[in-house]
Amino acid sequence: MNTFRIFSFISTGLTFILIFVGGLVRVAGAGMGCPDWPKCFDRWIPPISLEQLPDHIDPAKFNIVLAWIEYSNRLFGAVVGLAITITSYLVLKYYNDIPRIKWPVLIAFFLTLVEGWLGSVLVDTVLNPFTITLHLILALIIVMLLIFAAQESYYYENPNSESKSQYPQGLKWMFGLLAGTLLIEVILGTEIRGGLEMIRKDNPIVDSQFLINMLGPFKYIHSILGFFMTGLSGYLWYCLVRKSKHPSKMMTQTSSLILGLIFIQIFMGELLVFLDVIQLIQLFHMWVASWIIGLVMVQYSAWNQSQLCHE
């Protein structure tokens, strides 16, 4: 494995963990744990006691647990930023003349900077719901770009890895549709969460179960699209595993994994609706969605490589 691919894997893995940590900040309600940005209570190391708070900051805002949860997201974000910067340097060094590898990494690098800036906007606007959603969507796009670049560099070095496999043609729009639906699902999902918070603000005494019913149509569209995706990824699995000749191991495993994860998602979603809004399940529901998006990228790249081999 070359250095670029090692770093693109590290960047991808770290970004996935960062998405998890970001979701943790969200479900723990720690988004305003640090009321300023990039410092936390005007300190590079967040305060551990009230005495360390500067005079101009209202002590009511200080909650040591929330401050450190939020700050760990920022620190980890900085680590990911560093990893993506190194990956960008390596892509320019090794693949400067391969646009399909170079540009995804450079765009990911740019989006990482945007993510940092969005973090400051979130603090300024006291967690504007639209910005929260955008913050997550950009992270998912970064993951997709990094995965695509890593896999394309692999195919660049090993062009024959999908040469035996023959997949049905014309599936490109199907992958696009699946990825698009997934992103819409994530947006709807975060809107459900945001909507819950909005209603809760006006009805602080009502419990979550009742609130979810008040969301009505949002919830149904989220569920309907979920079943639509199950059909779509089931059909893709059928095309890529059953209907194709000599599918690669990567392809069969990825396709099956996507389908399995979608079933897990439906299960977790129903648990949230029928049981209760459990924070840990909320977190994993969002995180597994990010895995699926990454895996669809792997699936598409493998299919695309096979098509190129047979041109």
Partner: protein, 195 residues
């Protein structure tokens, strides 16, 4: 391959374990302190009705000190209080109290005008007045806030008081993020009395 799956499963499991610990920590970090009881007082509202510390019982109260002619931080504070008053329209056991620090100007009638101008149409938001010495005493000794140079030198704090008339926490009444914290705490206390 099998080894990778085991590692990933283990990592996910550990992340889940860590996350549930953090979530539990966060949930229990919202405890609101208990400062002290609000002392005895008896003031008059904008409707010329007596309002005493007993009227704090059984309800969650957000209280501030202001005066109607104040041009500094008060408009921001009043605006924040108005938002709370509107958003908690359906919550019977939340009330809002503003005490004037300029009783020479802010008599009941002036406060009534001021309350109407701020859209107050029920008794969930009371404006109180009294003589300056009682107000000073309540502010300084009761709420432990600076009260030497009234009316200009009044505090910009919003004070959260629970259903037992106990002071729980102070918030910067001009700060957006502090208001978000106040709402969380307020919701928590309201939920507790509804249990």
């Amino acid at each position: 391959m099998n080894k990778i799956i085991i590692y990933i499963t283990l990592a996910v499991f550990l992340l889940g374990l860590g996350a549930s610990w953090v979530i539990q920590k966060a949930n229990s970090s919202y405890d609101i302190p208990l400062v002290k009881s609000v002392p005895v007082f008896e003031f008059k509202t904008q409707d010329k009705i007596l309002f005493s510390n007993k009227d704090l019982m059984g309800k969650i109260t957000v209280l501030d000190f202001m005066f109607t002619l104040c041009a500094g931080p008060c408009p921001v504070m009043t605006n924040n209080m108005t938002l709370l008053y509107r958003d908690y329209e359906n919550v019977d056991n939340a009330q809002f109290v503003s005490i004037t620090v300029d009783p020479s100007n802010d008599n009941e009638d002036v406060l009534k005008q001021y309350s109407i101008a701020n859209g107050v149409n029920d008794n969930r938001w009371q404006f109180l007045t009294s003589d300056i010495d009682s107000i000073k005493k309540l502010k300084r000794d009761g709420f432990m806030l600076y009260a030497d140079e009234l009316p200009q030198g009044h505090a910009i704090k919003f004070i959260l008081i629970d259903q037992n008339g106990k002071i729980r926490k102070y918030y910067d009444g001009t700060d957006k993020a502090s208001m978000a914290v106040l709402r969380n705490d307020l919701n928590k206390l309201i939920k507790e009395i509804n249990k």
